[in-house]
Structure formats: structure tokens, C-alpha cells
């Protein structure tokens, strides 16, 4: 195993849809028992990367390996070692919980005797035991998601790839789900989990920030947050939108104002820029505070930097 390297190994991966590059030279590694967060907005390339990993898409350049097997050329071997939960985790709503699990057990070639013991374990940790005979369509969102996870775990994969597993799931179920994933990592499974929620980033041992098909930052959540040397001014108040327009149209050079919901974040590097922003906004009904960047802010700062860098 050690000769093969990390369970997930991606190097210089490239893929485009027509003119649009979806992945532009992405490299990353996920070790045994590690849970890596793939973070980025819609269209960052998260799903493309995951689909390449499980052999659903063929990359144009670079390589992707799971347990040492090439994802493009040895996809059948890869599939034996990998569990993948697509973004819209979809089960058969008209089949019962047990039937769904059995179906995927059969597809993965899990024998009947083995299936029984694995099924018991999965039922236990997911709490789905009492709902065995219930149709999947009648489960709650959180339960459905646990069933989907159970179906991807039935062949005891060493690598688990989950595409936005917590999207559309209530807060309590989300917390439970993360605990289950932590447990799986402790058992030695390598997990790559994508999420659009920046507040979930803190749950990972390591995060990879993906933007427009490129890795723009990588490290522990704290490292990534600190990694941005820029400071942030947070502008809030009744005149937020006017402030944002003003800064974009005639603000001081070298700063970027990014609107984020009801706030505007201004990334800057020097105190001089700080005061020029404050001068520009004098007279507007907004509060301006200097905040230490969180992951979200780091992301926005990094993203903003990229955008002005290319524009």
C-alpha cells in the first residue's frame, strides 16, 4: 500500500467543457484516515474533480489515482475501492431501505452472507434499523442521506468521495452526519468531501479551496484563514449598496470591494488604503470595522485577488 502512495492522488488534472475550463491543473492528495474538504462556489470544478475520481469522466490531462489505480484506465478496479455519493444523492424512492441496500450490495458484488453482517453494522451506525421496511421516498431528508451513505459504504470502500452531502439537510441531521464521517475517518477511510458552506470548513483536518478549476489555497482551516495577508474591512448599514457602488466605480486603486449578502468586504493591504476607503465613504450611513478574516473571508479575498489578477 505504501508503494502506491496516498489513497487519493491527483496531479495536474485538467478538464474542460468546450471552451470553458472546469479543472485547470488541480493537484491534491488525501491520506488514509484523512478527511479533506473541497471548498468552493458552484462551478468551481468540485463535481468534475469527483466524477473523474470515480471514473465517470475522463480527464484531458494530468492523472488521478485511487488506491494506486488509474481512474481513467482502470476504472473498474477503482470502483471496487471507492464509494461515491453524487450531489443529488438519489435512491429509489419506491424501494424499501433494505431493498436499496441490497441492490447496491449486488451491484458491488457483495456476497449474501457478507451483506448481512455489513447491513447490520450500517443499520446500527445510521440508526436506520427500525425503518428497514420503509420505502426510501417516505424517509426524512436526513434519513435519506444516511441511507445513501449506507449504500455507498456497503462494499467497505477505502476511499469515500461525497459531493455536497449536507446540501438540503436540516441542521441537526447535518451535525449527526459529520459525526458519522469523523467516525469513518477514524476507521482509516480516506474521505474527500465537498461543500459550498464555508462554515463547515472548520470540520476538516485540511481544506482545499477551489476556484475556477484551480486550487487557490490549501492547508488546515486556521492556516488558510491566516494565509491571506490581506486585511478586511467589513461595511454594513443602510447605505451598504451605495458604498459598494461607490468603491467599485471611484474607490481608491488597489482595493477590491466584494458584496456578500448584506455586507461589503474590502480587502486591502496597507493602513493607507484603509484610511482612503474610510475617506471615500465619509457621509454614508454605514459602519466600517476591521475584521480578521475567516475562511469565508479568506476565500473571498483570494477569489477577489484572482479576479483582479486576471482582469
Amino acid at each position: 500500500m505504501s508503494a502506491r502512495g496516498a489513497p487519493i492522488r491527483v496531479e495536474g488534472l485538467r478538464k474542460s467543457y468546450g471552451e470553458m475550463p472546469a479543472l485547470d491543473g488541480v493537484s491534491l492528495e488525501v491520506g488514509k484516515g484523512e478527511m479533506i474538504g473541497l471548498i468552493g462556489p458552484d462551478g468551481a470544478g468540485k463535481t468534475t474533480l469527483m466524477r473523474i475520481l470515480c471514473g465517470l469522466l475522463v480527464p484531458e490531462g494530468g492523472s488521478a489515482k485511487v488506491m494506486g489505480f488509474d481512474c481513467a484506465r482502470e476504472e473498474r478496479r477503482v470502483k471496487e475501492h471507492l464509494g461515491y455519493m453524487p450531489q443529488r444523492f438519489s435512491l429509489y424512492p419506491d424501494l424499501t431501505v433494505a431493498e436499496n441496500i441490497r441492490f447496491f450490495a449486488d451491484l458491488f458484488g457483495v456476497g449474501a452472507a457478507e451483506r448481512k453482517t455489513r447491513e447490520e453494522r450500517l443499520m446500527e451506525f445510521s440508526g436506520l434499523g427500525p425503518f428497514r421496511k420503509r420505502r426510501a421516498g417516505h424517509l426524512s431528508g436526513g434519513m435519506k442521506q444516511k441511507l445513501a451513505l449506507s449504500c455507498t459504504l456497503i462494499h467497505t470502500p477505502e476511499v469515500l468521495v461525497l459531493d455536497e452531502p449536507t446540501t438540503g439537510v436540516d441542521v441537526v441531521s447535518r451535525a449527526e452526519f459529520w459525526e458519522i464521517l469523523d467516525g469513518l475517518a477514524r476507521e482509516g477511510i480516506a474521505l474527500l468531501v465537498s461543500t459550498p458552506y464555508m462554515d463547515e470548513a472548520a470540520r476538516f483536518s485540511r481544506i482545499v479551496l477551489l476556484h475556477r478549476g484551480r486550487v487557490i489555497a490549501e492547508g488546515s482551516p486556521a492556516e488558510v484563514a491566516r494565509g491571506s495577508r490581506r486585511k478586511l474591512l467589513q461595511i454594513r448599514g443602510p447605505d451598504t449598496v451605495r458604498a459598494w457602488r461607490l468603491l467599485r466605480e471611484e474607490g481608491p486603486r488597489g482595493i477590491e470591494a466584494l458584496r456578500f449578502g448584506d455586507r461589503v468586504h474590502v480587502a486591502h493591504e496597507t493602513d493607507e488604503e484603509d484610511s482612503s476607503v474610510r475617506r471615500a465613504l465619509a457621509g454614508l450611513d454605514v459602519s466600517i470595522v476591521c475584521v480578521s478574516p475567516g475562511i469565508e473571508d479568506a476565500f473571498i479575498a483570494l477569489m477577489g485577488g484572482k479576479e483582479t489578477g486576471t482582469a
Binding site: 466524477r51 470515480c54 471514473g55 465517470l56 469522466l57 475522463v58 476504472e75 473498474r76 470502483k79 471496487e80 471507492l82 464509494g83 461515491y84 453524487p86 443529488r88 444523492f89 438519489s90 435512491l91 429509489y92 419506491d94 424501494l95 431493498e99 441490497r102 441492490f103 447496491f104 449486488d106 451491484l107 458491488f108 458484488g109 449504500c151 455507498t152
Partner: protein, 368 residues
């Protein structure tokens, strides 16, 4: 093998638990059979016919008498003059008029040919053609000698005489039921399979299936198998109901029918697979499957409209419709008792191989 069976079992569960697809699979064929069986009736009984006898001779009275007693036409009234013909058509009193001109008996004697004019309501073209054929047949029947008397044969010689083979009672059910089997098999086959595959693509379960080490052949065969059973069941249902309800004969071998039906079903199922590999959603798949099967089968295969009376380009087009060949086979088996159709069987087999090949080539275990 186990994967394939597992997919087949799962698919059967889908069918059995979804009342709508079950209805499509079981109720629709029966409904279609009854609807078409009673509805598209090309046979006419008690056709209201007006009779204008300007000759008023013993010979003309004899002809009228025999026409009516043939049982195919209903005496809708005697006309006094030609002026009464059109108003009667307009009021719908008669669908046709047989006019025996004043010179009928004279020409019968002089030229040994009796001339009779037949006027038909052409507003319904299909019926008009049928009425034309019927009246010719009825006139022929009426013109035939009542006894052995050679005198009568001389008296009423006939310009044409039709003898109808294989379906002597001209029962349209005998014609329609085999045709319905052809329509239902291709529709169920193509529609259900294409929807079943498109549904998995649309809901995203196909993506989930493709991440397992299952091969494309296992998916295809596993998915098609339950529909093959259903379509076979439907075929038996239609032919069985056709025999019981409409009394359609079965003069040939059941084994031959089953064998050729299997071939035809394979074409239909492959077509469904090919459609599903092109269609992204269930809706598109459904529309495509219906367009590709229902209309061509209905219009071009010779089910309703005889192929021989079609414009040549449409006849060519009809040659790529699988039902064209299956119709020849099933009518041949059921009505004529034949069993050997090398050309039709060969064409159907070729179509199955070609379409399945195209479908398999397009069916990838990847998303692109």
C-alpha cells in the same frame, strides 16, 4: 449474472409498485384493443342504400331483389327520379345509391351486359372505398346464378367478380387484432424501456449505478428483461382477447408466432434503448418513443391503410418500419396458417442487430 438479475428484480419492483406504469403496461393494450376493435371497423353491415330503378323491368326488379336479400345492404328507400339522389345524401338517408338506368334490360339483351351506376357518398373517403368494394361484391353476388340454370348466367353476366380469401366474412377484427398486436408490442417495448432508462438518468440514480463495477451489458440486459416479459404478456393478452372477444381465428402455429414476436420485440426494445441513450429526460424519451413507434406503425405499416395504395415514397418509408414486416408475419400465421417467413424474419433480425449495436455503442458507463 447476479448483477443483471438484481437490476431486473429492481426494475420489476418499479413496475409493480407504480400503478401508472402498470396501467400503461396492462390496461392500455386491452383498452386499445377494445377501442380499435370496435372503433376502426372497416366492415359495413346494413349499409343504407337507396335504389333508383328507371328500367322497371323484370330483370331490374330481380337484381334489386337479390341485392337486398344478400344481407349486406339495407333498403333505404326507392327513388322516383334522379333529383331525389342528392337530397337523400345530404340528409344522410343513404350512403350510396344504386341506379339502374332505363336501358338496363335492353342492353342486357343486346350487349349481354347490364350496366348499373353506383353513387357513393365520398365525404368519408375510407368508407367510400369500402362501400365501393362492397357494392361491387354485392352486385356480383346478386348477379350470380340463383340456381343451376344456365339461362340466368347468360341473362346477368358480370364485368368483375371478387372472391375474398382468408377473411371471407370480411371481419375487420381479423385484420385489426394482429395489427394491434404489432402496435402494442413496439409501443410497450420502446416506450417502457426508454422511459425506464431516461428516468434513471433524470433522477441521478444512473450516476450512482455507474459508480459500481457493473458493466453496460449487465445494465442493458437487466433493464430490458422485465419489459420483455411484460410485452410478451401483452402480446398474449391481445391475441387472446382478440380470439375471445372478436373471434379472430388462429390458423397457424403458436410457436412460430412466439418466435417471430420475440424477434420483433427485440427490435422494439433496442429502439427504446437507443432512444433513451439520446434523450435526457423522461418526457423527451416518451415523445421520441411515441413518435418513432405509434405513428409510423399506424400509418405506414399497412395496419390501417393498405400499403399498395400508398404513394411510392411512403411505401419506401414503410420499409424501415419494423411493424411492416411483423404484420405480414402475424397475419400470415393467424389468418393463413403459414409459418415460414425468411425475408421478414431476416429483416427483423437485421434491424434488431443494427439498432441494438447502435444503442450499445452509445450506452457508456461514463457520463459523457
Amino acid at each position: 449474472m447476479r448483477r443483471m438479475l438484481s437490476i431486473a428484480r429492481k426494475e420489476s419492483n418499479h413496475i409493480l409498485r407504480d400503478p401508472r406504469s402498470l396501467a400503461v403496461a396492462i390496461v392500455m393494450p386491452i383498452a386499445m384493443l377494445l377501442l380499435y376493435g370496435y372503433g376502426i371497423s372497416t366492415e359495413l353491415r346494413d349499409l343504407p342504400v337507396g335504389i333508383l330503378d328507371e328500367d322497371r323491368s323484370p330483370a331490374s326488379r330481380d337484381l334489386v331483389e337479390r341485392m337486398i336479400s344478400s344481407g349486406f345492404i339495407m333498403d333505404a328507400g326507392r327513388l322516383d327520379s334522379r333529383d331525389a339522389i342528392e337530397p337523400g345524401f345530404r340528409k344522410g338517408r343513404w350512403r350510396a345509391v344504386v341506379a339502374i338506368g332505363a336501358g338496363f334490360s335492353e342492353s342486357l339483351i343486346r350487349e349481354s351486359v347490364g350496366r348499373v351506376q353506383v353513387l357513393i357518398d365520398g365525404s368519408d373517403a375510407t368508407t367510400a372505398a369500402t362501400v365501393d368494394n362492397y357494392l361491387k361484391a354485392v352486385l356480383a353476388l346478386a348477379g350470380a346464378p340463383p340456381g343451376e340454370s344456365g339461362e340466368n348466367l347468360e341473362n346477368l353476366p358480370l364485368a368483375g367478380r371478387a372472391r375474398i380469401l382468408f377473411n371471407p366474412e370480411l371481419e375487420s377484427a381479423n385484420f385489426i387484432v394482429p395489427g394491434l398486436a404489432a402496435i402494442i408490442l413496439v409501443m410497450i417495448g420502446a416506450l417502457l424501456t426508454s422511459i425506464a432508462v431516461a428516468r434513471e438518468r433524470e433522477t441521478g440514480t444512473m450516476e450512482q449505478i455507474l459508480t459500481t463495477p457493473v458493466g453496460p451489458r449487465e445494465i442493458i440486459v437487466g433493464k430490458v428483461l422485465p419489459y420483455l416479459v411484460i410485452a410478451y404478456l401483452d402480446a398474449a393478452l391481445v391475441v387472446g382477447a382478440g380470439r375471445i372477444v372478436f373471434g379472430v381465428p388462429m390458423n397457424g402455429s403458436w410457436i412460430a408466432l412466439a418466435a417471430y414476436s420475440l424477434l420483433y420485440l427485440l427490435v422494439a426494445l433496442s429502439l427504446g434503448l437507443l432512444i433513451s441513450s439520446l434523450a435526457r429526460t423522461q418526457r423527451v424519451a416518451m415523445m421520441a418513443a411515441l413518435t418513432a413507434t405509434l405513428l409510423p406503425t399506424l400509418l405506414l405499416s399497412g395496419f390501417v391503410f393498405p400499403r399498395s395504395s400508398m404513394p411510392v415514397p411512403l411505401q419506401w418509408l414503410g420499409q424501415i418500419v419494423p411493424a411492416t414486416y411483423y404484420l405480414t408475419v402475424i397475419r400470415g400465421i393467424m389468418l393463413k396458417g403459414e409459418a415460414w417467413f425468411p425475408v421478414e424474419g431476416g429483416v427483423l433480425a437485421g434491424m434488431a442487430v443494427l439498432i441494438l449495436g447502435a444503442a450499445a455503442a452509445r450506452f457508456r458507463t461514463r457520463l459523457e
